[in-house]
Structure formats: structure tokens, C-alpha cells
């Protein structure tokens, strides 16, 4: 780790992944801030996982699977594309991807904000448990599958089977939805929804987008209770 004007630089060309993650986790359990920069990530998996401190981490380049997984409090920016399951199980903090994200972005995340400036692949926000996800481009098929809480905002289009078996996550899509999954329906956009959407867009850096152009999707809540007419199927 070399110090450059208060920013600690970790070069994965000469630092192994475990040592790099240990450095990134060095403030864990404290309230201390630090600014760290990772260069040459070369698509490595599980980079900057398990951070539990309000630190700023910038990753210059494309990352592999599980980047920023389990994040708590940190602000992590990937300047490039992220592989599968970026920010999976995030608890709090902010993760930003300036390029595209692969499948299962933000899977099971409980809190915090995930911003993907480009497109997200399939199963974005699968089983989401309370985090907010804002995607500047499109999201792939089966996104928000069984998503339970939190909000997902998509400035582009959504793929097939959006929100299949959805619980209480609120989904806002500006573009086209290829198809809705089982029990996911379009819902009325009321003032309270335009209000929270405007706030989310502003926070995520998409303040120029007009909330009036979005549609809201949510659970029809028909799968919540067992339908006695289906008893013959069991």
C-alpha cells in the first residue's frame, strides 16, 4: 500500500486479493473514515467485501463476482463493470458502478443504495430485503424475483418476468417492461410515489429524470395466501 496525498493505493498487480481485502477492512468496527483506491482489479472476485466502516473506496477497473458484498457503511465506487452479485447482501452505505453490472446485482440486500449507471443483467434485486437500487440503463429478465422490501428504479427497460412472486418491493420503470412475472401488476402512481422517486433519482445522481415518466409496479398480493381452489394440485 502506497500513500498518495491521503489516498491509500492498493495495486492488485503486486498485492494478493486477501491482503488487499484485509487493508480495505482495516477500519472495520470503527467510525473512522479513510480514502482508499484499488487499481488493476483485473476482474477479481470478492473484492472489497465485508467492509464495516464509513470509508471511501474507489476501484479503477472491472471487478468479478460479489464485489462490495455485505457492505456496511462504506461508499464504494467501481469505475468500470461489475460481475455477478455486486453489493449482494449489502446492509448500508452506497455502492456505485459506473459501467454495467452482471446478474443478481444487489441480491438480498437489506439496506443502503446501489447505483448502476449502465445496464444490469438478469435477476437484478432478486430477493431484495430493503435496499434501494437505481439503474441508469436496462435490467435483465427475472429481476426483483421474490423481492420483499426496498425500492428499485430503472431508467431504461425491464426484461421478461419482472417482479415474479413479488412481496413488497416497489418498482419504478421509465421504459418498456417486456413482461410481468406472476403476481406483479402495474399500480397507480400517487404523489407519495412521485415524491419518493424524485428523492431516489436525486440521491442517485439522476436528478434530470422526470418522475412523471415512470410507471410503478408492485405485488397484487394474490400469492400471499393459499387459494383453496388449488388444493388439487398438492
Amino acid at each position: 500500500m502506497n500513500a498518495h496525498s491521503n489516498i491509500a493505493v492498493i495495486d492488485l498487480d503486486d498485492t494478493d486479493l486477501t491482503a488487499a481485502n484485509q487493508s480495505l477492512q482495516s477500519k472495520n468496527g470503527t467510525e473512522q473514515n479513510a480514502h482508499m483506491r484499488v487499481v488493476n482489479p483485473r476482474g477479481s472476485h470478492a473484492l472489497a467485501v465485508g467492509i464495516d466502516a464509513p470509508v471511501d473506496i474507489e476501484i479503477d477497473g472491472n471487478t468479478g463476482y460479489f464485489c462490495a458484498g455485505m457492505n456496511k457503511a462504506a461508499r464504494i465506487t467501481v469505475k468500470g463493470n461489475a460481475g455477478q452479485a455486486v453489493a449482494e447482501n449489502m446492509m448500508s452505505g452506497e455502492v456505485r458502478v459506473t459501467g454495467d453490472a452482471s446478474q443478481a446485482a444487489g441480491a438480498t440486500a437489506h439496506g443502503g443504495l446501489l447505483v448502476i449507471e449502465g445496464n444490469a443483467g438478469s435477476r437484478c434485486g432478486i430477493s431484495l430485503k430493503g435496499a434501494d437500487i437505481v439503474v441508469g440503463g436496462d435490467i435483465g429478465h427475472m429481476s426483483c424475483f421474490m423481492a420483499q422490501a426496498g425500492r428499485v428504479v430503472v431508467l431504461g427497460d425491464a426484461g421478461d418476468a419482472l417482479g415474479d412472486s413479488l412481496y413488497e418491493t416497489r418498482i419504478y420503470v421509465r421504459g418498456k417492461v417486456k413482461s410481468l412475472g406472476a403476481d406483479c401488476v402495474e399500480k397507480e402512481m400517487r404523489d407519495e410515489h412521485r415524491g419518493e422517486l424524485a428523492e431516489l433519482l436525486q440521491t442517485a445522481g439522476f436528478g434530470d429524470a422526470d418522475p412523471k415518466e415512470f410507471r410503478r409496479y408492485g405485488s397484487a398480493r394474490n400469492l400471499y395466501n393459499f387459494n383453496i381452489d388449488n388444493v388439487g394440485a398438492y
Binding site: R42, G43, S44, H45, N62, G64, Y65, N81, G83, Q84, D100, S102, Q103, G121, S122, G140, H141, M142
Partner: protein, 301 residues
């Protein structure tokens, strides 16, 4: 798991460097499968009237000259051979079917890995790096090629159960996933369509299905499109023909896939890590192929 890589050159100036670009891609996928590894490369197409075979024997000291001499005398054919570890490339102007029967019948441990005009297949039960070293992959030139690192699920870890699979002239297929209807399809292809399937591996059934469709006049793109209706299960496929290269993911698309394209090449991999040493990758268009969509380059597509 399993790892797949593919590289299709658009700029012929890279052909002499194919192996040095391709080896790091294959080795980067070591974590996805260390049971066996293999590559199919397309280069040095034989002249019209000639057939190129890649043939395997477990004994690296096997006397291939004896096979070639028999082909010369029995088939009155011109025969050239170049041994490479456990594999040999045999080129002949003899009748292709008769040559095949003679080679296969020569020794019970002989297996024909590929038949065609440009294709060569090299695969072994070893780590990707060891396989690359054994066959001197880094020195190979090619127009395009595919590679596979295997974590076996559907059949035993053997050399002939390794990928790529070739089931028809110049065709090869690699697969990440598992098929659930391969037994029924195997029966159908072998009993009703005269296809030969040599192993218990599900991937060879998929390769045979693609060969069968190609033989019926479908293009590579169309044959892969047909897979969407015929195959049940999980798959990411990369297929090669003499001048074509194609990618297909199943409609659920659980198995990972990433493509990169520049003016010089198209690269495929299970993970982005495989691309990091490619020239110009920082400015390449990088994207995930959509589920149930065939992507193809070259060929008749």
C-alpha cells in the same frame, strides 16, 4: 461449474499470435474446473480432396507412422502426420470414411477427436496450464478457437469425456451446464438420424444434435436456434465451424457468459477475468449475451 472461452479473430494479423492470446484466457478459467481441459483450434485448412483428423492414443510413444503406412498401402492415399503429445494430426486425400474406419480399427485405444478441413482438438485430464503446456498451445496459430475447463457433472472424468466435442465435419461445441433430456435425444439421434455418439456425456448429445441440424442444411445460427426447442436443461454453448463462431445461452441463463468485441476480435468467456490480457480490451464493447438469443460471427449466418 465449468469454464468456457472462445476467440474469433476478425483481423488476420493476429492469427500468428492466436495461441499466446488464447492460453491466458483458458488458464484464467482454472478455478471453474480442473478435472480436464481442452481446446479446438481452426487453422491451416487442408486442400480440397484432403481430410484432416485429430486422433488420440494414451501412449505418447504410439507408432503413428504404422497407421499412416497402412493408410498409404490399403487406401493408396497421400498421408501426412504431425504428432503432438497424446494427439496426432493426420491429413490424407484418401476416402474420408475408409480412412476413419482404418484409423479407428488400428488399435482399440485410438479415438478420433475431430474430422474436418481446419479443425484440430486437443484435450486431456489435467489442469488448463498443464494441457496448454503439453500441447504448446501458446505457439499455435489459428483463425478462431474454443476452450473448456471441466468440472465434471454428467459423466466420468476421462479424456474422451472432456470438451470440446466434435460430432461432424469441422464442428465443435463446448458447454457449461447440464442437460436433462439427453437420454431421449441420444436415442432419437442414434436410432433415427444415423448419428454416432461415443460417450455418456450430455454435451456430446448436444453437439450431435447441432451436427444433425447442420447436415440437414441449417446454418450454424439456425442449428443453435433449433437447440432452444430441442434441449431441456442449463447451458451456455460456444460452437465453432470451419469459418463460424456462435454463442447461445438457455432461456433461464443461470450459467455465466460475457462477450467482448473490438475491430480485431470477438472474445467469449465464462468470466471477465479471462479477457484482462487481450489487446485493446479496455476499449472493447463488453456485454452479457441475452438468454435464448444466438450470437454468431462468420460462417453462413
Amino acid at each position: 461449474m465449468c469454464g468456457i472461452v472462445g476467440l474469433y479473430l476478425k483481423n488476420s494479423e493476429f492469427e500468428n499470435r492466436f495461441g499466446e492470446l488464447f492460453e491466458p484466457m483458458l488458464v484464467a478459467m482454472t478455478d471453474r474446473g480442473e478435472d480436464s481441459a481442452g481446446v479446438a483450434v481452426y487453422h491451416d485448412a487442408v486442400a480440397d480432396g484432403f481430410t484432416k483428423f485429430t486422433v488420440y492414443h494414451p501412449d505418447t510413444g504410439f507408432n503413428w507412422e504404422a497407421v499412416c503406412d497402412r493408410m498409404r498401402s490399403d487406401l493408396n492415399a497421400t498421408v501426412r502426420d504431425a504428432a503432438n503429445d497424446t494427439h496426432v494430426v493426420i491429413e490424407t486425400d484418401g476416402d474420408a470414411a475408409a480412412s476413419r474406419d482404418l484409423i479407428e480399427g488400428f488399435d482399440p485405444q485410438i479415438q478420433i477427436m475431430s474430422v474436418g478441413s481446419a479443425i484440430e482438438i486437443y484435450k486431456e485430464m489435467d489442469t488448463p496450464q498443464a494441457v496448454a503446456d503439453r500441447f504448446e498451445l501458446a505457439k499455435m496459430s489459428a483463425t478462431h478457437g474454443v476452450g473448456h475447463t471441466r468440472m465434471a457433472t454428467e459423466s466420468a472424468v476421462t479424456t474422451d469425456g472432456s470438451h470440446p466435442f466434435s460430432t461432424g465435419p469441422d464442428l465443435c461445441l463446448v458447454h457449461n451446464g447440464s442437460l436433462s433430456n439427453h437420454n431421449r435425444l441420444r436415442r432419437d439421434l442414434t436410432q433415427h438420424h444415423d448419428m454416432t455418439i461415443r460417450t455418456k456425456c450430455d454435451t456430446e448429445v448436444a453437439a450431435a444434435y447441432v451436427s444433425h441440424r447442420l447436415a440437414e442444411g441449417r446454418s450454424l445460427r439456425e442449428a443453435l436456434d433449433d437447440c432452444l426447442g430441442a434441449l431441456d436443461g442449463f447451458y451456455t454453448f460456444v460452437a465453432g465451424t470451419r469459418d463460424g463462431f456462435a454463442v447461445l445461452r438457455d432461456p433461464i441463463a443461470c450459467k455465466p457468459a460475457v462477450l467482448a468485441e473490438t475491430d480485431d476480435y470477438v472474445a467469449f468467456a465464462s468470466e471477465y477475468r479471462a479477457f484482462v490480457d487481450l489487446p485493446g480490451i479496455e476499449n472493447a464493447r463488453v456485454w452479457e449475451p441475452e438468454p435464448a438469443v444466438v450470437y454468431s460471427w462468420g460462417g453462413e449466418a
